[in-house]
Amino acid sequence: MEEKLHDSGHIEKSTETIDGDIATLNLGPTHPATHGIFQNVLKVDGEKILSSEQTVGYIHRAFEKLAERRPYNQITPITDRLNYCSSPINNMGWEMTVEKLIGAEIPKRVEYMRVIIMELARIADHLVCNSVIGVDTGALTGFTYVFQEREKIYELYEEVCGARLTTNIGRIGGFERDFSPTFYKKLDNFLKTFPKVFNEFDSLLSRNRIFMDRTIGAGPISAQRALDYSFVGPNLRAAGVDYDVRVMNPYSSYEDFDFIVPVGTQGDTYDRFQVRQEEIRQSLRIIEQAYKNLPEGSYKADIPEFYLPPKEEVYNNMEALIYHFKIVMGETPIPAGEVYHSVEGGNGELGYYLISDGGRSPYRLQFRRPCFIYYQAYPEMITGQNISDAVLTLSSMNVIAGELDA
């Protein structure tokens, strides 16, 4: 079966050998080209890769075990450290999972606010990935351009939650406060300046002959194999499958927005780059729509048992004090049950499988980490390729060590 599926792809793998001398090369654990701590032991014939063996787990922090002892609101900071290039998506995915479990009704305004933050996070995530592909081909300029814009996104996070990288943004039930006037000012500024800088970045790489020669055909995977390896997100779409959680199972009011799901055809590095580029443009469109139609209302749901009351009320109001105490001590009753919720993270379907037995912390919480699942296809994708292509493939798959090892 393995053999047959392999043949069904449209990608030909070269079989030529150079001189028959086989060498072993350690790519990683710490290597500037891997952008994270993971090891690949490559068998190479000259420049050509014959086989690769991966070792992962260097930064395994046992998040799933940790989560079994923490109250629900203390698990949000753990999710920050999964894909740390787009922490807000992880945070909000988790918050939505708990909201699903407790059956909370979320105001439309919160959902739109979340969409704005999540799409900003997607832009930041894709900017890192795409500009790093540029760096790995030797083009550092684009990287320096877009990192200034990424900085602006981080300032926007900072305006909402006070943190930049590991954001712990939002609360179960909404946000800790409404968007401030400074936030809107900064967002206006970002929406005005970003497209220009982004187009400049795009024109540096997209149709650049050298970049195209380097990336086209590097690390390809067929749609069939990608599905077999449970690929999701931009990597799957680059192979030609138009699967996007935001469209298939809309959450947080994504059904209200008009956007396109870009797909590639070859599943190679160039397609992955182009899919992410287009997704950045579509994310901008979504942000503009959400910003323009941002509904009036509250920035938090009416769930006093889960959402910390404001401090002044805690000091002056008996009921608020009780809720505050119960939430902080993790004494809030939670329904028993099991839910699976998934969001479209920076790397694709990020799932949370939560089993609650009614206790103060989850009985079992499993993260479906897209990186962990699709990184196992890496040896297959680089066999027969050059070492330089392997480096490009790795960066274009956007393997984030935090998400890989959990």
Binding site: M1, V56, R69, D228, S230, N249, Y340, G351, Y375, Q376
Partner: protein, 169 residues
């Protein structure tokens, strides 16, 4: 996007095809959850993938759960499957006892199951028969216990100065 299949439809097809190997059918939070015979897991997942009507041919997630108190069914293996064509999700569960923690590997149905099964082995000690490389993946190879089992407390279990009632389960 609406699903083209209903929970009842899928449950009925499965029951017709596998009869007594389907142990129970539930729909918590509208998510079809089916408990099946651990020995039949491979066949059921293969059938779901190849059936032309259901086309449940994408493995979303795979993992274990430990229930130390339920005798004879201490470990659950949970598969989340999905059909992209029909936009349908399904959860399959199978239970094994702590004496015999073996199930068939589905790596030759889904190549992506490889690391997920290794992770489940690493955390819970559930072995997958027919797996090409049944080793630990995230933890070190020399580790001699399975850390996600409930008997291993996150904090030092020998400490007496902390009353566990106040600090989690």
């Amino acid at each position: 996007m609406k699903s083209k299949l209903t929970n009842e439809q899928v449950a009925e097809r499965l029951q017709k095809q596998f009869g007594e190997h389907i142990k129970s059918v539930e729909t918590p939070y509208d998510f079809l959850t089916i408990e099946v015979d651990a020995a039949k897991l491979y066949d059921i997942i293969f059938w779901l993938k190849t059936d032309s009507e259901l086309q449940i041919s994408f493995l979303t997630n795979l993992g274990g759960v430990h229930y130390p108190d339920s005798e004879g069914r201490e470990f659950a293996i949970v598969y989340h499957l999905q059909s992209m064509v029909n936009n349908f999700r399904l959860r399959l569960k199978a239970f094994v006892s702590k004496e015999n923690t073996e199930v068939d590997s589905i790596v030759d149905i889904y190549a992506g199951a490889n690391w997920m099964e290794r992770e489940t082995f690493d955390f819970y000690g559930i072995t997958f028969n027919g797996h090409p490389d049944m080793r630990r993946i995230l933890n070190e190879d020399s580790m001699d216990y399975f850390p996600m089992r409930k008997e291993y407390h996150l904090e030092d279990a020998t400490r007496e100065d902390k009353d566990d009632r106040f600090f989690g389960r």
